[in-house]
């Protein structure tokens, strides 16, 4: 048997990698960039105003109970199941207030819930369109009747927001949908913002929230870190944050302005654009394979053992 030569190998690499070699880096394509739509709905959470009363959590559970977020969680110490004391977002908790303590003097509350990204990773990866972003409101919504439970949205979300009901035989994904089908529809405001006693949560259009946030930064600069979290993070989010402590300490990750979905889709699109590469690959390979087989039958006719079809 002949040893394969370098040239043979290149033929192989050329044939199988057609196109893929070139687009692996994905840097060739121009970046369309995320178009930020400031008309979308969102919330502004001001950590310096929040008093940690958790009224928003309770309200969220009460209002959205039919949508999988009520079922109270037993705390570890609670054998009778009387208390609801979630320690993190979960398959029954859409929003949560946490207290971060750096020292006795420096601490801050922080509220977790879906950020309603401008270019949501969860929507980008969902294989069956169970996660969708509404055109007008910008709400990132989940449809349990389509979801196959692959949990790719959980892998993809940089904020670790979508949660899965691990303990259920018929589980679903749970995350904030801005009270789309409940409080928002009935009262035009999210349940958490509605009940907040100190106005730490402001509900409205992104452009108004941004203006408000920058106004507060200007009026009382001592109170805040000079940064509106979510304005640019990950392509921008509709849930915005103000705080006095570094956001990554509050559990909000440092994310580059480019949306993660922007990066991955760019590469995916380069490879599959109009399905040209796969079709070209298939036809090239067919051509080579059929030719090879013909050649083989012609030349090796004497070797009956090897004859093909």
């Amino acid at each position: 048997m002949k040893n394969p030569s370098r040239r043979d190998f290149l033929k192989l690499a050329g044939a199988t990698g057609a196109g893929l070699l070139a687009c692996g880096a994905g840097s060739a394509l121009a970046n369309e960039g995320t178009q930020i739509n400031n008309e979308e709905l969102g919330m502004l959470y001001d950590a310096t105003k929040c008093v940690g009363c958790k009224a928003c959590m309770a309200s969220c559970k009460r209002v959205n109970s039919d949508y999988g977020s009520l079922s109270y969680e037993k705390a570890k110490f609670d054998s009778d199941g009387l208390w609801d004391a979630p320690s993190d977002l979960s398959g029954s908790t859409r929003t949560l207030i946490k207290l971060f303590k750096e020292s006795e003097q420096r601490w801050s509350y922080v509220k977790y819930s879906c950020m309603h990204c401008q270019k949501p990773s969860c929507v980008s990866v969902c294989p069956v369109s169970a996660m969708t972003k509404e055109k007008v409101s910008g709400i990132v919504d989940y449809n349990k009747n389509t979801c196959i439970g692959c949990r790719y949205c959980q892998i993809a979300c940089p904020y670790n927001i979508p949660k899965f009901q691990w303990e259920k035989a018929l589980p679903q994904i749970v995350k904030c949908d801005l009270c789309k089908a409940t409080n928002l529809r009935e009262k035009g405001i999210s349940a958490c913002a509605e009940v907040c006693p100190v106005g730490a949560i402001k509900f409205g259009k992104r452009k108004d929230l941004l203006a408000e946030a920058h106004q507060r930064l200007k009026d009382t600069p001592d109170r805040y870190l000079p940064h509106v979290y979510g304005e640019h993070e990950g392509g921008g989010t509709n849930h915005l944050y103000l705080a006095s402590m570094p956001f990554n300490k509050l559990g909000l990750p440092d994310i580059k302005p480019e949306a993660p979905a922007e990066f991955s889709e760019k590469i995916q699109h380069t490879i599959y654009k109009g399905f040209i590469a796969p079709v070209a690959l298939y036809s090239t390979l067919c051509f080579i394979a059929v030719k090879n087989m013909k050649k083989h039958q012609g030349h090796d006719g004497h070797d009956h053992n090897k004859e093909e079809k």
Partner: protein, 446 residues
């Protein structure tokens, strides 16, 4: 595919001791699958909202399908590189792929939280072409079908020549309560046989187009398996998160595929007491370094380009795993540069194992080890989770063992006796007559 003399059934009993050991492992795995469906995924696995993908996705799907790429890798060699002398290896490689992919599909159904909604993959309005997973899912489904078609000739050959001893034995055992009477069953079976005879030449005519599809589809979905993690830019460690993920996964499955074809041949030669196919294997082995060298250079080049070489050499947890993966693949390929080592089944086995381990570790690194969702999350597979995976692997081995006995899969030893017949041509001619006898040997009598 090919003349009947090229392949033979394996003679011997099916119900051996190892069969029952494997079967009990499979049953244990399936017990836990049952628990999972009744009590939810959380009841059997340690997966969490931080680590929503555990070893089922990492091993069964991402790694298992790469290991199942033997059929893909050998098909490229035979049909694209025009190395028809590797043809005898293709059926067993395709059989392994068939089980590998079939069971990856099965384990996805265990892993999916809402599998009853999976039909949405076939509803165009639900398609989400941005999702790498959508691409993977469709490709894998299509490829599994193609694999069955590719394997069909072996089954058809078997049906053609079948005297239905086994079937009749079963029937006699069931008779007279549930089984139909001898005559009508015989007629029906004859119909099946005639159908097979009718179908085979027609299938053979178009088979090449399916074979090429069987090369295109893995090219697509194996690279997309890398794309799946592209989006996790904040979670996957920079040692592994790169725009080259699709390319690296593609190359990775090719060298794993060849290494696995080697391992599989050596192991089945050893355990079925057949001569080693040293000639073919050393030829395959010579190919591996070409692929691994590209893979290794892309890895290094990309790290250098992104300024991550320091992180690779840092000596911490991540760099440790990275170095292990890298050195396994590199040392395995280094061995294969020596012609002498390539001729020894023992060294072939060693280097192929190193490469498979390193290649598989790469996929584990990307999917699990290098994946860090943030503070406080930890994942280590639970016993039940591992047993489900082990059960699935056991089922693969079991299926392989049964299939090589039922269908002509393995290369005909008299026609392709690598180790024992150095002069291949002569052996092929000499063996031709004998091989036909082997083919017709009544293995089904047991």
């Amino acid at each position: 595919m090919g003349n009947p003399e090229e392949y033979q059934k394996l003679e011997g009993k099916i119900f051996t001791k190892s069969f029952f050991i494997l079967l009990s492992v499979v049953l244990l795995g399936f017990y836990f699958v049952g628990v999972r469906y009744v009590k939810g995924i959380g009841a059997v696995s340690n997966m969490s909202d931080g680590y929503p993908w555990g070893i089922w996705i990492t091993y069964d799907v991402a790694t298992g399908t790469a290991i199942a790429c033997g059929g893909y890798a050998v098909a490229i060699l035979v049909y694209i590189r025009n190395r028809m002398q590797y043809h005898p290896m293709i059926r067993s490689a395709i059989l392994t792929s068939m089980f590998g992919y079939g069971l990856a599909g099965f384990s996805v159904m265990v892993d999916l939280g809402r599998p009853w909604n999976a039909y949405n993959f076939f509803i165009p309005s639900k398609w989400q072409a941005n999702s790498a997973m959508f691409e993977v899912a469709l490709c894998v489904m299509a490829y599994s079908t193609v694999l069955i078609l590719e394997f069909l000739p072996a089954i058809l050959t078997s049906i053609e020549q079948s005297k239905w001893e086994r079937m009749n034995a079963v029937r006699n055992w069931l008779h007279p309560k549930i089984a139909p009477d001898q005559k009508s069953m015989q007629d029906k079976l004859e119909m099946v046989r005639l159908g097979a005879i009718w179908l085979k030449p027609r299938l053979n005519k178009v088979l090449i187009f399916f074979i090429v599809l069987g090369i295109t589809l893995p090219t697509m979905h194996q690279s997309s398996l890398g794309s799946l993690l592209l989006i996790a830019s904040t979670k996957l460690h920079p040692l592994w998160h790169t725009g080259f993920l699709p390319l690296l996964f593609l190359l990775n499955c090719v060298f794993i595929g060849y290494a696995i074809a080697i391992l599989e041949s050596i192991i089945s030669s050893y355990s079925f007491r057949r001569p080693f196919e040293t000639e073919e294997l050393s030829g395959l082995a010579a190919l591996i370094p070409f692929v691994t060298v590209i893979w290794l250079s892309v890895v290094i080049g990309d790290l250098a380009y992104r300024g991550q070489i320091g992180a690779a050499l840092k000596g911490d947890f991540y760099s440790g795993w990275f170095m292990t993966e890298f050195l396994l693949v590199a040392s395995g390929s280094l061995l294969l540069f020596f012609k002498k080592l390539r001729k020894s089944p023992r060294w072939l086995f060693t280097s192929a194992s190193l490469i498979v381990l390193g290649g598989a570790l790469y996929r584990f690194n990307v999917y699990l080890i290098g994946f860090n969702p943030g503070q406080g999350w930890r994942y280590f597979p639970s016993f039940a989770e591992v047993m489900i995976t082990v059960g699935i692997v056991a089922l693969e081995v079991l299926g392989y063992k049964v299939f090589v006995a039922l269908f002509p899969v393995l290369p005909n030893t008299s026609a392709h006796g690598g180790g024992h017949a150095p002069a291949k041509k002569a052996a092929a001619q000499k063996g031709k007559k004998a091989s036909i006898e082997v083919q017709h040997a009544p293995v089904e009598a047991h």
